[in-house]
């Protein structure tokens, strides 16, 4: 059997007591592909993202990753050490608030180096070199390598978080509202950067956002969620230009035009 998918989640359900987090959600993604998950607040986007990343235990469903050696791993079955190893080598997670994803009292270089040291790098010179090159890639002045992120602007912090996550060359990156809380010009810069990096490195990405402009720019395919259910899925342009479901239509029509 051909196993050409990179990541596949099937029939994911997560309940918070009586309440539904997400219900019967399936998605799959191939290498280099960008998938957007859109929906209003409380629609279960972040729950879904945390479930498929392995941070939250799912109640039903399977999460499969096709790992580097072409072996299929099921997140719901593998033990925690293995999962955490996968999370820091094959996967990456970019938080909405850079404070959640960065160590604020550790220098920018240390922040980027942490994931390298976590997978066994023990050569200071090498780590520093890689950290510098990544600062360059995310357009942060290399001379700031020893400054703490707390002295950075919001946009720089977010770019640093992206660098920190991409340094171990993950194959799939999860992003939870990566541009939320940033002003529009900074947003545009981050989106530009993300688009270039994702294309250049061939990384697949799953982006959760309520901002349709973000998915329009980045995503190849999107899924639309409401009340924990997927109500529409398809190619990005197709869904955004010709939404079929009532809620998707509402979502598309409520975008403000300048």
């Amino acid at each position: 059997m051909m196993q050409d998918f990179l990541f596949k989640a099937s029939n994911i359900s997560k309940y918070y007591g009586q309440n539904v987090g997400c219900k019967n959600v399936s998605l799959d993604i191939n290498s280099g592909e960008v998938l957007g998950i859109v929906g209003e607040s409380g629609s279960g986007k972040s729950t879904l993202l945390n479930c498929i990343y392995g941070n939250l235990k799912v109640d039903e469903g399977d999460i499969l990753l096709n790992d580097k050696s072409k072996k299929i791993l099921n997140f719901t079955k593998i033990d925690e050490p293995k999962l955490r190893l996968i999370q820091r080598s094959d996967l990456a997670f970019v938080h909405q608030n850079p404070r959640d994803g960065l160590r604020m009292n550790i220098s920018a270089g240390g922040n980027i180096g942490e994931r390298l040291m976590a997978i066994g790098h023990r050569n200071y010179g090498e780590i520093r070199e890689i950290a510098s090159s990544w600062l360059e890639k995310v357009e942060i002045d290399v001379s700031r390598i020893d400054d703490k992120p707390s002295t950075f602007s919001g946009g720089m912090q977010q770019r640093l978080q992206i660098a920190r996550n991409l340094v171990t060359k993950p194959r799939l990156i999860f992003m939870d509202e990566p541009t939320g809380g940033l002003d529009v010009s900074v947003q545009a810069k981050i989106l530009d950067l993300l688009r270039n990096l994702v294309r250049e490195l061939g990384i697949a990405a799953i982006i959760v956002t309520h901002d349709l402009a973000v998915v329009r720019l980045l995503a190849d395919r999107i899924i639309v969620m409401q009340n924990g259910n997927v109500i529409e899925a398809g190619l990005c342009d197709q869904v955004l230009d010709d939404p079929q479901h009532k809620y998707s239509q509402l979502l598309v029509s409520s975008v403000l035009q300048v």
Partner: protein, 293 residues
């Protein structure tokens, strides 16, 4: 009370041998045995109120109390010295509550309680070294969540420990951490050696004595069994270096023991002396013998 304390026999009736009651000692011994079985693993124990504040060595004292037997010979040091407040008061405490013999000579002691030093004289089999530990968790200031650090130990995720060393080099050009320098015990758990100077770290490796660590406030006990591999963490291009002040002791002239810096005059004149008072005494005696010959 003064009248009673003059008579040692009465003291011993007032206190159980070595202060703690037998059930408590049993609980601590069980923790110690577990700690010895899993070198470097922090075993929780139910630390007792001691008749002194936390931070004065309550963890070490509880471990000593649980290990002490009547024929033990006890030595207590504080920063290497036998005659500093902490050492004197703990030594007196056990003289009073356990009536054990005490000594200042490292080689004569069967149990040594220490704060922040390992004696210069080589330890041998049958000796126990008890460390007083303020913060047993080497990852504490890097990851404040105890639930998370325990998981990191369990899964040996020690990347973060290296981040600390990275930060040192980035800031100072070398690994600046000079005390409480993290070690890897038996190739497994990263362990806090208590705030001993990193000069002492190599002494922990393959030591014939039993090394026990007690943290009273934090309620943790851990141990390094005899002849265990203890490696100080480092980078390939910035290897671990045991360092000391580059002077000679102004009393005994020793150049290979760890030195304390003392300011001897108002205009900032400095003098260096051995921090290990017993070693210094020994060296002075050796020197005078040589002079006599």
């Amino acid at each position: 009370m003064n009248d009673m304390s003059k008579d040692k026999n009465i003291d011993i009736q007032i206190y159980n041998f070595a202060y703690l009651d037998e059930n408590t000692k049993r609980m601590i011994r069980r923790a110690l045995l577990k700690a010895l079985c899993i070198p470097g693993y922090q075993v929780p124990f139910s630390s007792r109120e001691m008749p002194m504040p936390y931070g004065w060595g309550t963890g070490g004292i509880q471990v000593t109390s649980a290990c002490l037997i009547p024929k033990d010979v006890l030595k207590v040091i504080d920063q290497g010295a036998d005659d500093t407040t902490n050492a004197v008061s703990i030594r007196k405490f056990f003289q009073k509550t356990a009536n054990v013999a005490v000594t200042e000579k490292t080689s004569d002691a069967s149990l040594i309680q220490t704060r922040h030093r390992i004696p210069e004289t080589k330890l041998k089999e049958q000796q126990i070294l008890v460390y007083q530990v303020p913060i047993p968790e080497p990852l504490r200031f890097l990851e404040p969540r105890e639930t998370e650090t325990r998981k990191m130990h369990a899964l040996s995720e020690y990347g973060l420990m290296f981040v600390k060393l990275y930060e040192d080099i980035a800031k100072h050009g070398h690994i600046e951490t000079a005390y409480a320098y993290p070690v890897k015990t038996n190739g497994n758990y990263v362990t806090d050696p208590s705030p001993i100077p990193k000069f002492d770290n190599p002494k922990m490796n393959n030591n014939p004595a039993i090394q026990l660590f007690g943290a009273g406030r934090e309620q943790r006990i851990y141990a390094i069994p005899p002849y265990t591999n203890v490696k100080s963490l480092d980078f390939e291009d910035y290897p671990f270096e045991a360092m000391k002040a580059n002077f000679k002791c102004s009393i005994c002239g020793s150049s290979d023991s760890y030195l304390d810096e003392i300011i001897v005059s108002d205009d900032g004149k400095r003098s260096y002396i051995c921090s290990d008072t017993d070693y210094c005494k020994e060296q002075t005696q050796l020197n005078s013998k040589e002079e006599d010959q």
